[in-house]
Symmetry: C2
Subunit: 351 residues, 2 copies
């Protein structure tokens, strides 16, 4: 029997709706296995700005620190989107949350489900069988370096920095993940141009001998952007820095045919965070059409993180069942669509 405290940050747009279904599934797991999950909801994102003026209120951060895990819906609202120079933006809350909690590794599985091949933009035979896991460094690089304007106002700068310790810790996680999969790790960088990339290569090569079973290779980021489309099946675990990971993980996410299925985990020194990769989709909010599966699979990653593999596998099996039976929201089942809640109920029922 496990007792866990889960901070829920439903966020904006469809975030609250998909979180509700993931909570329902986690509660079904708790019932069935006798665990105790305690949920506490906090404000973050545009809704937090509206309510408090801050995208990440102190109370929310405090709640996250006290939790065993965080479930995040999605943040973002069009009223802030087209105003990147706005003083307060939902994104700042997300970046501050990552940095404050030390969430240095963002982990995204991309799995091509057979039943969804028709929905993939790629030809079926290219994508069938693809199954990769992306490790994106999340608290370093150009996102968090010095940035600003030059004194004369004519120029701007963003500094990208990495130090060995930042690379070492995520590299171990990525190698360890590869040993539980197909034993292949691809480092993506731009070592033919960037000094930080050369440091990444050095450090990763130094660590490689500790994982003798893992085959390590290297791709320049431009080539990786091509290979992910040309031949996604060649990848097992991909490791890369923050900015490249932002671009490549979003690129890779579309090959599977639906953003609505892809979960993610962000882990670090303390509490871990789980969230669907899709955004807040404000146009869909309140229409009962949001696909809750990505969030439910994020909850499954949370269960794995708690060491509850059997529970996690059961949730994934229930999701597969929904896919097989086409108990799916309109974007994947246009002819006889189910609502967000119906999909959540179906999956929770089979847990």
């Amino acid at each position: 029997v496990l007792r866990k405290k889960i901070a829920v940050l439903p966020g904006d747009g469809i975030g609250p709706e998909v979180c509700d279904e993931a909570i329902k599934v986690l509660e079904a797991v708790a019932d069935r296995f006798g665990h105790q999950f305690e949920f506490e909801t906090h404000l973050m994102g545009a809704c937090a700005i509206d309510a408090t003026g801050e995208p990440l209120p102190d109370k929310t951060l405090q709640g996250c620190f006290e939790a065993d895990a965080i479930l995040l819906g999605a943040i973002g609202d069009p009223k802030y989107d087209n105003n990147p120079a706005a003083k307060v933006r939902p994104e700042q809350g997300l970046l501050k949350l990552r940095k404050s909690l030390g969430l240095f590794a963002n982990i995204r599985p991309v799995t091509a489900y057979d039943v969804l091949l028709e929905h993939s933009p790629l030809k079926n035979e290219r994508v069938a069988g693809a199954d990769m896991l992306i490790y994106r460094e999340l608290t370093g690089g150009i996102y968090f370096g010095d940035k600003g304007r030059t004194e004369d106002g004519e120029g701007a700068y963003d500094h990208c920095t990495y130090d060995r310790s930042e690379i070492v810790r995520i590299t171990h996680l990525a190698f360890q993940a590869a040993t539980t999969r197909r034993n292949k790790l691809t480092l993506v960088d731009k070592a033919n141009v960037l000094e930080t990339s050369r440091l990444w290569r050095e450090v990763v090569k130094e660590i490689a001998p500790e994982y003798p079973d893992v085959e390590l290779d290297f791709l320049f980021v431009d080539n990786a952007a091509m290979q992910i489309i040309l031949n996604p099946k060649q990848f097992d675990v991909i490791l890369t820095e923050n900015m490249f990971g932002d671009i490549l993980s979003d690129e890779a996410s579309v090959i599977a045919g639906s953003l609505g299925l892809l979960p993610s985990a962000s882990v670090g020194n303390t509490v871990a965070l789980f969230e669907p990769i899709h955004g807040s989709f404000p146009q869909g909010a309140g229409k009962k059409i949001a696909n809750p599966i990505a969030t439910i699979l994020s909850a499954a990653m949370m269960l794995e993180h708690f060491g509850l593999q059997e529970e996690a596998d059961l949730v994934k099996k229930a999701v597969h069942n929904a896919l097989d039976k086409k108990v799916l929201t309109p974007e994947l089942n246009a002819t006889s669509p189910y609502t967000t809640e119906q999909v959540g109920n179906f999956i929770a029922y089979f847990v």
Copy 2:
């Protein structure tokens, strides 16, 4: 009658073979229209390192300055590739050439040819009709900023900088291009995180009123990486900074079905450079299998740059003819392939 001096940098791998065919086509154009093109060949890349110790010998740079245009094959050799920390690398020659000649805009058309839809990794209906033009800033940003290691040896840094003038000049080129096409310009940036991106948005927005017919929109780079695969037809002209352009232009290049067809131009204050986007493909060198079409279409871009639109159109028509008749190298015609030279001859014949 036009007299032009063309510096040819065949480079490494298949570079010399594809350049030969482009020269052949340019000579056919000269014959037919009574122009005089004078070709002068220079060393650059791995072959230049082997011969002189330098990837871009002074004599080559001098020859480029004196020319009206540059035709580049491809550079790169595996013996330098897996050694990113090597003191001398072919890439350094390319970066130095871009910077020395002030080639600040790299221009890449991506066209989905109907006859090649089967070769595209994307489902035919997604890619059919796609026709975009990417403007990548080529002499600024993180490629050319300060870079190095911290004093304690534990860290590395790469500085990204842009100033208004660097953004202004390429922005005008991109807007002008849009006015000759479908009047749509998409700026790709990461203005929700980077200060340089916010400067890009500011400058581009300031310039926009000078092109009232062009519809301007903005995409974050991670979203752009998705949209290029999900719906490539939505794009007309894309404008972006150096690093994002490196990644996105390579990503976009694969949707057309063959890297062997895609040309590029790099323009600036003085002489312009034309090159196929494919690399040196060392494994294919000397095997007569390299597709010369990308280089021939690069030569067509050179003709347009010289103001010879009729000549350029004729070359493009001859290329379409080769595509229609399947006079193509093995990667596009596995059953009855033609050699590099045969494809070049066929196209030159129809000019």
